[in-house]
Symmetry: C3
Subunit: 345 residues, 3 copies
């Protein structure tokens, strides 16, 4: 799809400076510009690139004053960064606009498929599953019996949503996500064998939840594993049975949350963090990457780091002192010599 500089300026409420009928078909960073692309200049650090870029069109702030000639056509806007973000969003919108059904498919006759949905080829929709209107189900997605997918939710290629799990409206599940696998629960028998404890609960995702590629969320033993509205989870995260994640909490890649732990709302959790089970983490907690959380966090808004984690200031002091460990050791030896000398005097 191509647009002229003039068309884009109209969309963004900007003013063209240069050739208004120049066409662009892609977005590019100003330092990686190519003919046919549109870029933007917001950060003054990147000003030198505007004189060299091969991009056909560049968005600039309305008060930008060049001090050399510029090859590209400019579009002057109130705020170049915000305008560029709008273009990104429009591009996404155009791309996401798939509808209709592709073949072959397996759709159980009892399944309900809403209007304006996209059902890709190689999609499996089981007994009494419900797909809300406007939802987009990409190829190789497995929607088990009794599952509900909310309106306008997007399930990318190879997502699996298992029996009876519920996905809210406007959720995004990235490729390879597994929702509703069995929790890891075994009862050790007297002979040391591990007997499987049936996992018969579900996973529920409220609205606007986003789940990263190949992340796994286990169903509850009983009841629900629950991700509340607006929670955002990165790739390769493990969320165990009966976990609860609060509204608008973001969790980075490769973090693991053990069974029944409850994380509050507006929390920010770094990558590769581990939580033991049955914890309660207060709202607005921030946790640094690779931390190990083994105790409840009761006060709101703490910043934690380390394994075992402690408040960031204490952790930074511990890390600094660890670098002093050798010096401390030497100072103890020195003291021992001096004290021995003093004692023998």
């Amino acid at each position: 799809m191509k647009f002229t500089a003039e068309q884009i300026a109209t969309l963004l409420g900007g003013i063209v400076e240069g050739e208004g009928n120049l066409e662009v078909s892609r977005l590019a960073k100003i330092e990686q510009g190519v003919p046919g692309a549109i870029s933007f200049l917001a950060n003054p650090k990147y000003i030198p690139y505007i004189y060299e870029t091969d991009s056909s069109v560049v968005l600039v702030n309305k008060d930008f004053i060049p001090d050399k000639p510029i090859k590209a056509t400019l579009i002057r806007v109130e705020d170049a960064y915000t305008s560029f973000t709008k273009l990104l969003e429009m591009a996404e919108g155009l791309l996401a606009n798939r509808t209709g059904q592709e073949d072959p498919n397996f759709i159980h006759p009892s399944a309900e498929i809403g209007e304006n949905t996209y059902i890709g080829a190689f999609v499996y929709i089981g007994e009494q599953a419900k797909i809300g209107k406007g939802a987009k189900i990409y190829p190789f997605t497995y929607i088990d019996s009794g599952v509900e997918i909310g309106e306008d939710s997007i399930l990318k290629a190879g997502v699996k949503v298992l029996r009876n799990c519920i996905i809210g409206n406007r959720c995004i599940l990235h490729a390879g996500v597994v929702i509703g696998s069995d929790g890891f629960g075994f009862a050790p028998q007297k002979d040391g064998q591990l007997k499987k404890i049936p996992q018969t609960g579900i996973v529920r995702l409220e609205d606007e939840v986003e789940i990263g590629a190949n992340t796994c969320i286990d169903r509850a033993t009983l009841g629900e594993t629950l991700l509340k509205q607006g929670a955002k989870i990165d790739n390769l995260v493990q969320i165990a049975h009966n976990v609860e994640i609060g509204q608008h909490t973001a969790i980075a890649s490769q973090t693991g949350i053990s069974g029944s732990t409850k994380i509050g709302k507006y929390c920010l959790v770094g990558g590769q963090v581990g939580f033991v089970g049955h914890l309660s983490i207060a709202d607005r907690t921030q946790i640094g990457g690779q931390s190990g959380i083994s105790k409840n966090v009761e006060s709101e808004g703490l910043i934690l780091r380390g394994s075992p984690a402690q408040p960031i200031r204490e952790q930074l002091r511990t890390e600094a002192l660890l670098k002093q460990l050798e010096a401390m050791y030497a100072r103890i030896q020195e003291l021992e010599k001096k004290v021995a000398n003093l004692s023998s005097q």
Copy 2:
């Protein structure tokens, strides 16, 4: 599927107190009860909920004495928790009872499919693969040439079992599991390039092994990567080439085991643990989450934690002392002052 309180009481050998013909169709926690659900009361901590629950039926111990009126119908049984677990298992059994074949499928003419199997839609079964009787192969599962799947094993959606790998009887492979990907083996060349070392061994899972969602088990360079009877592996675990896991060992999520390491039987390994390669870990070893194991563990039954790991008592002492580090630093400074004073006297 619906059951009356009377039918359930008969199944469990219990006695109904209230309406025997009340129907229930789902299981729920007592504190999350809804009409049409059956719950249980075992832990005295939950007694207050029985007077408020919306569940239609509640299993209670036979000697339970309410001190207020209860809305729900009760079923009195010997042990409410055990009875509820039986119901869970029966529910699982009913759900797992799929048989027959769905279309479309790709089954190589030379493949052997046992009786009473379930072969979902979009299943690929390659040349000379064998599927044991009673096995359930869910949609989007890839069974490569020469693979053998044992009797009554369950492969959930999107499992991939690659060339010649062998899965025992009554195994469960959760969604997205990869069995038999290439081991990570490269020979550095003189010019710094990394030349792939062919990985031509297999993965063998003995009976009753369970593998969590999106876990990866690499084939041996030569020979076998081996998981022995009853081993239970959680989600997103990495098991490298030529690893061996002993009987009834359980390994929690996101743990990684490097090449050729052998873990004994009846071990319990926490989440996010890392093992370097070529280790030997004794039977009944227990390892805390996020530990790093870089040495053999020769004595049986040790409990280890930390990275690098040490016996748990020593590790807890180290962790406690780390919190004293600042105080120790201050005490050394204080000592130095005093000793300087003493020396100058």
Copy 3:
């Protein structure tokens, strides 16, 4: 496929000692030999096995002198290990030799499929995607619109390559890999909600890149996430948006690299390592497993370990001193007593 000892000797330029027409159909370790298998003896440690092995044929170095009778047929070659590796490679080559198309498939009419490709059953190839000649696309692979797959590249079962991403020549993507999922980018709003930042860049893999099972590589926000020639990535690794990995760098399992970090060439990164974002790591850096990298690495060839990481020597000293912490604590107490005594004299 079966070969006689004589045929193999001819292939390897070796000399048969024993029955030349003995047939073998598989490779095995000498200590796990079975009839019909060929093994090798290179490491003198394994000499005792040659007198007991059940393998039908064993490759030995030409100067090997047995001191007992050997049941197996021998093939004497210049270097038994190298010859065995050649056999492994030939076996791999034979196995990898699939061509043609299997049904059913979804191939968009505008897609371009090169010659001598293998397109498995249940493959999805989107609009204007290009598959280079000799490429092998296994079942359940999703190739989105605009994607390019280079010549002779292999995509194992269940790989997903999303919109516009580019895979070079002779790459190997193992089962379940996700290329081009959205980067984890959100702009916190005033009310605490997290607004998705569109991710419109791509992922580019140069030639001879290998990616392990279930690894995820996110597309750039803008521009490219780039893996340069010969980079080798293990299973379950997370590579975030706009990351760059240099030529011939190897990264072990479960490592996570945060957004915009650039790793140099010829680096070796252990398993479960975490990198924060926006770092620059010099060429030939080696990083131990479970390390945490939070600062740029500017000098080439450093060996780092620990979280936070430091040069290996310092880290080993820190680890050794941590084991002395209790003794240090006791020595401080002892010193305090002595100094108190001295002061009171």
